[in-house]
Symmetry: C2
Subunit: 312 residues, 2 copies
């Protein structure tokens, strides 16, 4: 199976209480592809400028990401985002956004990218997400992200796109805003009713929840004593989630649940260093070790209480 992702490839400048970086590799498609690449064959679709150098391409190459559909605009500059996090690492304060070549991004998919069985539409203009989905006729399982900016400015377009995908992966504030409903379980029901097979609601340090038609599955966040840089955590989660599903080739209750764990595992590594540094250096024993940690963190024996069997 293979997996195609469409989204931003960027340079980030980051400031956190633990340090700063002038220019690290970033972007939703980058974080997603690196994470998914541990599980499956990934095609990345995006655009960069002539300033995108050998060092950056080498990161994709190391993880065998197919970058044929990352367009290069020789005279242009790569999308640049600059942000700061204070001790409350849940909120990014944007210092600067330069869309550059990303402003006029029109995803161009090769036949190879279109043939993928799994597709992830990272956070871009909803109309573009829909166009890409309609080009990928072989895709059996399509997931999308979005953000408050699009929900505020073009909610109808977001919902139009939502109707042609199988799964939505968003955070709790976005879910509440999209459904116009403060209770997260009612909001999930409203969003699911657009015809989704799955809805993943990410809740940062409080974990994530998967809603399907007949069930709900909750995962806590991995216990970290310090979150170094949360940039890209959501896309890294989505990469682990979709990458694992693609590796198994079958989307069912059991694979979806394990996909939630692998998503959480990958996101937990991502935040331990700046940019893509930690995920770039990851290996399989580390990934499976943390998968086992999640089992230990959540397992209990199903022993119903019986009044007569009590020790009293």
């Amino acid at each position: 199976m293979s997996l195609t992702v469409v989204g931003s490839v960027a340079f980030d400048a980051l400031e956190t209480p633990f340090g700063k970086r002038e220019k690290v590799l970033g972007g939703a498609a980058t974080h997603f592809a690196l994470s998914a690449g541990f599980f499956t064959d990934v095609n990345a679709v995006g655009v960069v400028g002539g300033d995108f150098g050998d060092e950056e391409w080498a990161v994709f190459k190391r993880h065998s990401i197919n970058t044929d559909d990352i367009e290069i605009v020789p005279g242009g500059k790569t999308f640049f985002w600059s942000g700061r996090y204070d001790y409350d690492m849940n909120t990014a304060h944007t210092l600067d956004t330069q869309l550059n070549v990303f402003e006029t991004f029109e995803p161009k998919l090769s036949e190879n990218s279109k043939r993928a069985k799994f597709l992830f539409l990272a956070n871009i203009l909803p109309m573009l997400q829909k166009q890409v989905r309609e080009q990928c006729l072989a895709a059996d399982f399509v997931a999308m992200d979005t953000m408050n900016f699009w929900i505020t400015s073009m909610k109808e377009a977001v919902i139009d796109t939502l109707k042609v995908v199988d799964c939505v992966i968003i955070n709790d504030a976005e879910a509440r805003q999209l459904a116009d409903e403060p209770n997260i379980h009612k909001a999930a029901k409203i969003i699911m009713n657009y015809g989704l097979k799955g809805l993943v609601i990410k809740r940062g340090e409080n974990g994530a929840t998967l809603f399907t038609k007949d069930s709900l599955f909750s995962v806590p966040a991995y216990p970290l004593e310090s979150v170094f840089d949360p940039t890209g955590a959501g896309d890294t989660f989505a990469g682990g989630f979709m990458g694992y599903l693609s590796s198994q080739g079958d989307v069912n209750d059991a694979t979806l649940r394990r996909a939630m764990i692998y998503g959480s595992v990958m996101a937990s590594f991502n935040v331990e260093k700046f940019g893509t540094e930690r995920v770039d250096a990851l290996d399989y024993p580390e990934i499976n070790g943390r998968f086992r940690d999640f089992k230990r963190m959540t397992h209990f024996d199903e022993v119903p209480f019986e009044k007569s069997s009590s020790a009293s």
Copy 2:
């Protein structure tokens, strides 16, 4: 095994977006005892006024709670609390507090209450908690609650009490304040270092986490489309937690994990109606049904990822 609880017995006046009640049975010891009573023999220690009537005593009687150590001050009035919740049900707005007979509360424990193997010190003056603990020499497992008011005004006294108990059950804001540390995992480590065997951090709609010396166990909250009245949810959780442990007679990793689930189950029922109404009417099939729901919400098969076994 039996379980003794020391804390408030009260009348509450409640206003929520779903309705209001002028006078319902409330108080930490009440919510705790009713919840724990489903699992074990409970002795409640508290004080009420002459206004505490047959209807109130009948609730304790129905659940076979031993009320011998609830002192009656014939000329006095029972502790009264009045609060309002807005649509954000996480925050109670106190409208009125009349301590009445609770202001000079001095817990008087009978030999029977002192003989209990399990003891819960609900949220009262920390010095009183410590005095009670020191009277209960037979208690093998002692847990306590506290609140921001005591942590702010007499942190040393809270810590003194903390040093003579086995387990602390508090919410995340209280844990951060007590440890003076914003990261919850670092805060937990600091609090555990006072010599605890367990620390339960409650996170409302985000569930609860149990910290022990070598492990961590996380439980999501039960998915509720509406929280009717959150008053007493924390004490109801503690009642399910301690009640289950007492019923099993043994505190180990497996019983502690199931105690976390029974605590969450009981709290999820408590918030469905005003005051003690829902827990008062509960039965065992309902309790075990929701216990099974928790298993379904959190279970996944432990299948490590192997690159070679993928479908690609």
